[in-house]
């Protein structure tokens, strides 16, 4: 049962244009959402996050939007650069009595074409 879904396995975008990566979740108990970027043969690296009490968080070229009613979040990268080509994982988190529980989506491979 996938609690976090990224329905697009891959996405190609022209350099300079906007990249939009989507993520859907099913568990309304999630209260924190994160995006990670992963290059081949490396571990994922944290990119940006958003708390469930917000609907937008911006950091430079990266903006994450959260629509709680739709249980949907998206990552916008503008302008896209060739170095952004990587796999992007969406993750959702909730804290319970046992600590922090992170659930990852399957990832979307972004290719930014020069």
């Amino acid at each position: 049962d996938q609690q976090v879904k990224q329905n697009s396995p891959s996405l190609s975008v022209q350099e300079g244009r906007i990249s939009i990566l989507n993520c859907d979740y099913t568990n309304s108990m999630f209260d924190y959402f994160l995006w990670y970027k992963k290059y081949p043969a490396e571990g994922p690296t944290f990119l940006i996050s958003i708390s469930s009490i917000k609907d937008k968080n911006e950091d430079g070229r990266f903006t994450v939007f959260l629509n709680k009613s739709a249980k949907h979040l998206s990552l916008h990268i503008v302008p896209s650069q060739p170095g952004d080509s990587a796999v992007y994982f969406c993750a959702a988190s909730r804290r319970d009595n046992y600590g922090q529980n992170f659930v990852f989506g399957p990832g979307t491979r972004l290719s930014v074409l020069p």
């Binding site: 043969a41 804290r95 922090q100 992170f102």
Partner: protein, 115 residues
């Protein structure tokens, strides 16, 4: 300095063997994790340790056992390796401080191949 390190980077072994993967973090984080990335590229949490106590154990076979000698280390021991254990294993750490949620810092991964 590497924040989260794992050794070895590659591990090739025969079915039935016992092996260990080591993980160390120098970030002073409270919690460490082990993830398995399977052939379909899903990152699935296996264990997490907070202050040397296991707090999450997703339905993982008991052939897998995490060992934490101290807050900076979380090693993964695997007994009686099976073909299906072949995957990339990632170690991660995060900070749990009050109400804030710390993002996870990942190691580079260990690619395990069971023959």
């Amino acid at each position: 300095d590497t924040a989260v390190s794992q050794t070895p980077k590659y591990l090739v072994t025969q079915m039935g063997n016992d092996k260990s993967i080591k993980c160390e973090q120098n970030l002073g984080h409270d919690t460490m994790y082990w993830y398995k990335q399977d052939s379909k590229k899903f990152l699935k949490i296996m264990f997490s340790y907070n202050n040397k106590e296991l707090i999450i154990n997703e339905t993982v076979p008991n052939r897998f056992s995490p060992k934490s000698p101290d807050k900076a280390h979380l090693n993964l021991h695997i007994n009686s390796l099976e073909l299906g254990d072949s995957a990339v294993y990632f170690c991660a750490s995060s900070r749990l401080a009050g109400e804030s949620i710390g993002e996870q810092f990942f190691g580079p991964g260990t690619r395990l191949t069971v023959l």
